[in-house]
């Protein structure tokens, strides 16, 4: 457990060199949101997205200093190394979501002085939706990074995101056509269960993604 903590601290300490960038990002989003209403809606999505991209740079930091080899000399097993990276990425994205939510609420409060429960619920829904969405992307992104490394992985994950989006949209259209469901009907059908179904699905896939990454890493020659 202490070794796992050490690995997570290592990633957090490394990203500390980006603390000015992170602070600048938060201030920029807050000011942007204050000046333009449209930007407020994007904060809960773009802020965690920026944080997640920073978290993924942990692979590049390791690559730059060839840290993987050194880490394998420490009293940790390969499973812990992969587990720590998943926890770190998830935590850092979660921080991004929390900062995004706080910024959004702050801007809304500054602008309207008083925000109702409905707006708060909407903010929370967008934030959690964005978080689950980013987790979904990570399910594919992290094993790709382990398989191809930080350099190649970056290009492959871009292609992967485009293919994934296209695939999901084509599959949804095809299923709706076959079953004769319209988009409105689908939204009504899934309304009550959507978050729960997606949440459970993403958690299960996230665990599967970890198992795949672990296997890739265990077999990887460095």
């Amino acid at each position: 457990m202490a070794a796992l903590k050490g690995l997570i601290i290592k990633d957090f300490q490394t990203i500390k060199s980006y603390k000015t960038t992170i602070l600048f990002m938060i201030v920029l989003f807050t000011i942007g949101g204050f000046l333009n209403d449209d930007i407020i809606t994007f904060i809960p999505v773009t802020m965690p997205l920026c944080f997640e991209m920073l978290a993924m740079s942990g692979f590049s930091f390791d690559n730059l200093s060839n840290s993987d080899t050194y880490i394998r000399t420490l009293p940790v097993n390969k499973k812990d190394i992969v587990k720590a990276r998943y926890i770190y990425i998830l935590l850092f994205t979660l921080f991004g979501s929390l900062f995004g939510l706080i910024c959004t609420i702050l801007v809304q409060l500054l602008k309207t002085k008083n925000i109702g429960t409905e707006i708060l619920i909407s903010d929370l829904s967008i934030t959690s939706g964005a978080f689950v969405g980013i987790m979904f992307v990570q399910i594919f992104q992290i094993p790709i990074m382990y398989k191809f490394g930080a350099e190649k992985g970056r290009i492959i994950q871009l292609v992967m995101i485009i293919v994934l989006m296209l695939g999901i949209s084509l599959a949804t259209t095809a299923i709706m056509k076959i079953w004769g469901i319209s988009l409105d009907n689908l939204a009504v059908m899934l309304k009550d269960y959507l978050i729960a179904v997606l949440g459970i699905m993403v958690i299960l896939l996230y665990i599967l993604s970890f198992v795949i990454s672990r296997r890739i890493y265990e077999r990887k020659e460095i």
């Binding site: 202490a2 070794a3 903590k5 050490g6 601290i9 290592k10 300490q13 490394t14 500390k16 060199s17 930091f61 390791d62 730059l64 200093s65 060839n66 840290s67 993987d68 080899t69 050194y70 880490i71 394998r72 000399t73 420490l74 009293p75 940790v76 097993n77 077999r219 020659e221 460095i222």
Partner: protein
């Protein structure tokens, strides 16, 4: 003599390179030097024996325990310094302290700070801004601060100036003084090993060529420098290898006293480890 490390029949195959049946041990209180040219298999040996890369065959025992089955426990008591790999260069020594104390219950913060001071390493500066020598000193300070029993170093003195090299070699010497600790030191700077190593393992083309005590190598081995006529009088079995120079032959012999007696040669030079390595690699038989 009790061994801290035992490597038996270690094999690893890559396309174009093969580590073949590596066998050696490291007794307590000894410094073992691993020598060989670049690409000979020194780093692959270290990586395969530490399970950094997956070995194809072989057995590695450290502190009498099988490394594969007790990896975490064993690695608590060893420290590894690699020439080309460490924690991110965006970390400063202060952050490294925060990280490392989680890995080792025996991490001694005071000792770490003492080494940083001794090596003149600024605690708040990221290591990216350090010189190569400072980076190596930071790796060594980190390695020594959890008081390991076994220190494994891959090219630790490359990039260091002669004064820093000497300081570090003194630290290594201190490390083994109590007879309980050992060092495996891979280096192509053979003069460092002549300074401190007790045994030399010479690896070439993925194979161990010899394992001998340093004193035996320097005292018993010899280089006969002779002309072609003398060289042709030597029986092949009486020398290891020879190197033909412009005007003379350098002939490496394993036992200079015997050779002297047999061929009535009055002068046989004492070789350096580098001489031995060079004739083994470049010489002919």
């Amino acid at each position: 003599m009790e061994n801290l490390l035992e490597v038996k029949n270690l094999c690893k195959k890559y396309i174009g390179f093969e580590l073949k049946n590596i066998n050696f041990s490291i007794p307590k209180g000894m410094i073992i030097g691993l020598i060989g040219e670049n690409g000979a298999g020194k780093t692959t040996t270290i990586k395969a024996m530490l399970n950094i890369i997956n070995k194809d065959e072989g057995e590695v025992k450290i502190f009498d325990l099988d490394l594969h089955q007790n990896e975490k426990q064993i690695k608590q008591d060893i420290a590894v310094v690699l020439d080309d790999s460490f924690l991110s260069e965006y970390l400063n020594p202060k952050s490294i302290n925060k990280i490392m104390k989680n890995f080792y219950p025996s991490w001694d913060e005071k000792l770490y700070l003492k080494y940083l001071e001794k090596f003149n390493l600024p605690i708040n500066k990221i290591s990216k801004e350090f010189s190569n020598g400072m980076k190596m000193k930071l790796k060594i300070a980190t390695a020594l601060s959890h008081k390991p029993k076994l220190l494994i170093l891959d090219e630790p003195t490359s990039g260091l100036d002669p004064v820093a090299r000497n300081d570090i070699l003194d630290i290594f010497q201190e490390f083994i003084e109590d007879g309980e600790h050992s060092i495996l030191l891979s280096s192509h700077i053979t003069s460092d090993l002549e300074h401190i190593a007790d045994y030399i393992i010479f690896i070439n083309n993925g194979e161990i060529i010899f394992k001998k005590s340093k004193d035996e190598l320097i005292e018993n081995f010899g280089i006969v420098r002779c002309d072609e006529k003398d060289f042709k009088s030597f029986k092949k079995n009486d020398y290891i290898k020879y190197k033909k120079n412009k005007y003379e032959y350098d002939v490496l012999v394993e036992n200079k006293a015997d050779f002297k007696r047999k061929y009535s040669i009055s002068v046989i030079d004492k070789p350096t480890i580098e001489d031995i390595m060079l004739i083994y690699i470049k010489g002919e038989k």
